[in-house]
Symmetry: C2
Subunit: 428 residues, 2 copies
């Protein structure tokens, strides 16, 4: 009993059959005595198709126009899902981001939600309607449509849950929840019953694709209880919440591997003050997300400055840094795309020493060379060769005692293998 916000992603609503399945799930949630607000992404590959079409008429499409274009995908799917609910006899109404009262700032393609006026949603909820909101979008102060960036529908859902004071915000996925590691890589990976906001944030920023960081941040700031659940079956997923006593004690909650990073190296930089500042100022101005940074000064007063950036920002990075190469008297700039970032995440690290040492030891024992290291209070990341990533993740998962103890033989986790997974979780 309560007010639920449920978010369904693009693959959950890819076609008419998927729409009908999602509609039944929503009907059941409402029939259990809940009010339901649904946030929906564009159907299947719609967003990619729209982007491809845009690029056909203009290789560098204007950002405002891209936003107007892409937002139509979510508008259409919210209307279709509403029709599917009607077909089941469920009272429902669709809303665009604008109609749902979602106000965003003026940054196109990466807008931030600034306020939500939930009056209209409340009015329809009070009339017994399911309200189906187009995700990923809002209206900016110029009355233009702006989108929240890839995965932005998660943020829409969390922001609505906060504004509506919802009891829970469920993100429905084609996986059963958040896993200790990618189950396609690590056979012993198992679903977590709960994870803290901070752990989820670190995992999200380390390549776990289950939730968008911004959505988790929003949930943390507004105390929204987030649940990642399967869209296929009704069963408990993973709760994302503040750390509580009842949580399972684990030093490491999860291991993530990110193969979408590249290492940029500014070669032969004289070790004079202010070089790093100039480089990272230029990167910040170009809105490039730098992650790990390494600089070691050699005896000769010459150093290499390395940092990682998302692979799809290499072009922008080069554009931002190249003018500086001469200015800082460096000898060159190169990019290495063949790296992977492997990260251990867990609030337990705060009270356990020796996690870093153990990690390095395990990797050494498996002959995995570490190229860069960065740490936070609850995370250790290393950059290694891309080809070593899967092996490293499996070795670490086992070494930190995270493998499910009892599990069906060769039970590799897929979206539909619920019984095997349940056994694995209980066995833990």
């Amino acid at each position: 009993m309560g007010l639920y916000v449920q978010k369904y992603g693009g693959s959950s609503v890819a076609d008419a059959e998927c729409m009908r399945r999602v509609a039944r799930r929503i009907r059941d949630t409402q029939a259990a005595g809940n009010q339901v607000v649904v946030v929906v992404s564009a159907m299947g590959d719609t967003t990619d198709d729209l982007i491809a079409l845009a690029k056909q008429v203009n290789p560098e499409p204007n950002e405002r126009e891209m936003d107007s274009l892409m937002a139509t995908g979510e508008m259409a799917s919210s209307a279709i899902l509403t029709m599917a609910l009607h077909a089941l006899g469920v009272k429902a109404i669709s809303m665009t981001g604008h109609q749902a009262g979602i106000r965003v700032d003026g940054t196109h393609l990466k807008a931030k939600i600034q306020a939500i006026d939930p009056k209209r949603i409340h009015r329809h909820l009070d009339q017994g309607c399911v309200v189906v909101v187009a995700g990923f979008q809002g209206t900016n102060p110029r009355q233009d449509i702006a989108t929240l960036g890839r995965g932005g529908s998660d943020t829409t859902a969390v922001a609505l849950a906060a504004a509506l004071k919802a009891d829970r915000c469920q993100i429905l996925k084609d996986v059963d929840g958040v896993f200790t590691a990618n189950p396609r890589v690590v056979p012993g990976a198992h679903k977590l019953d709960a994870i803290t906001y901070d752990e989820m944030l670190e995992l999200a920023s380390c390549g776990a694709e289950v939730l968008q960081s911004r959505a988790v941040e929003f949930a943390k700031n507004y105390g929204v209880v987030l649940e990642v659940v399967s869209s296929f079956e009704v069963k408990p997923g993973t709760l994302v919440q503040e750390e509580v006593e009842e949580m399972e004690k684990m030093i490491i909650r999860g291991i993530a591997a990110d193969k979408n990073q590249a290492k940029a190296t500014l070669l032969g930089v004289p070790d004079t003050p202010g070089v790093a500042a100039r480089v990272f100022k230029a990167l910040a101005a170009a809105h490039i997300n730098v992650d790990m940074i390494v600089q070691n000064v050699s005896a000769a007063g010459i150093t290499d400055l390395s940092f990682t950036v998302p692979k799809d920002e290499i072009v922008q990075t080069r554009r931002a840094i190249e003018p500086l190469v001469k200015a800082v008297r460096a000898t060159g700039l190169n990019f290495d795309e063949d790296i992977a970032k492997v990260s251990l995440v867990g609030v337990g690290m705060k009270s356990h020493s020796g996690v870093a040492y153990k990690m390095f030891d395990v990797l050494a024992a498996h002959k995995v060379n570490i190229e860069m290291i960065s740490t936070s209070e609850i995370k250790i990341s290393v950059a290694i060769r891309s080809r070593d990533a899967d092996r490293a993740v499996r070795a670490l998962h086992t070494a930190f005692g995270m493998d499910a103890k009892k599990r069906a033989p060769a039970a590799r986790r897929g979206a539909k293998k619920a019984p095997a997974k349940k056994a694995a979780r209980k066995g833990k």
Copy 2:
């Protein structure tokens, strides 16, 4: 020099290549010293595809949701066309119906424009932008999206032209203008240089698909000079305007055939007062467009009441009328989809008698049976068997002296046969 509103239909913007072509046309119009507001339809078959998708999840989709869904087609195409203009270096901005200030009434699927607040459009025009407006849509008093019905983008264009006090509203088509008859059916059909609003209205309501009736009505009411022109070539099209002295004298301006009508017949109705009123009140309440009506009382005081409705409104008509069959003590209700309505239209009829007689005589000579007749001051329509329609139109076109006198041998008019058509028009 002036302010032009140009409307491009779905087939003109069907793909990226079409978009680029349309963008060049718009650029040239602006480069000639004009301000340009563009109204654009959904790309190609987008609207039909969206409707088909909706029907997959719900055979009778809710009208509000259909409007929200369909409107996305025009939103997307306005953004894409704007990007194509940018690619040519043209300053341009897209607007949804809402952003363009188009306010409509609350009737979904057939909304009427009630007001336009053109402030934002003017602001961008003053900045040297081409403004590309998503056709076919507006916002109603409930802040919902409502569409104007099939062909509604024509109405958007005319209404914008009126609100902006534009110098001309051009409807760009894949034909050269308004023809005396469908050139695919009548080889001697030729393009008209001008036609009166009233004639165009009658032709549009009689099945000529060149313009939406509502758009013409709007143009007439607000004195908007409308021009139907080719989207392929820059050359004069057909002006739709008030009757003026200089117009070519023709008794019949055009002949239209409409095969999208069905004949509904309420059988064995007792001839008592109020029956027709009850029937047509029910149809009006269901927003069904009844066109021709025939009732003949037999000696026995029993009659059949027949009327025509659009074929795609048969289901709604049956639903509206069936409950009345017993109530008015009729013996049944049937539908005949195998009819066509053929109409002669011309303001010249006002001052020429004998047009009806001549029409019936020509049809009789060609053994075409007339089932229903209706007339207005400038129109005569007959319902005949569907299979006779093309033959009837050709015979009437010849009999009323409308065939182009000189034309290239076997020059059937296609969109690209401009020289042949020009010769035909001059020879007339």
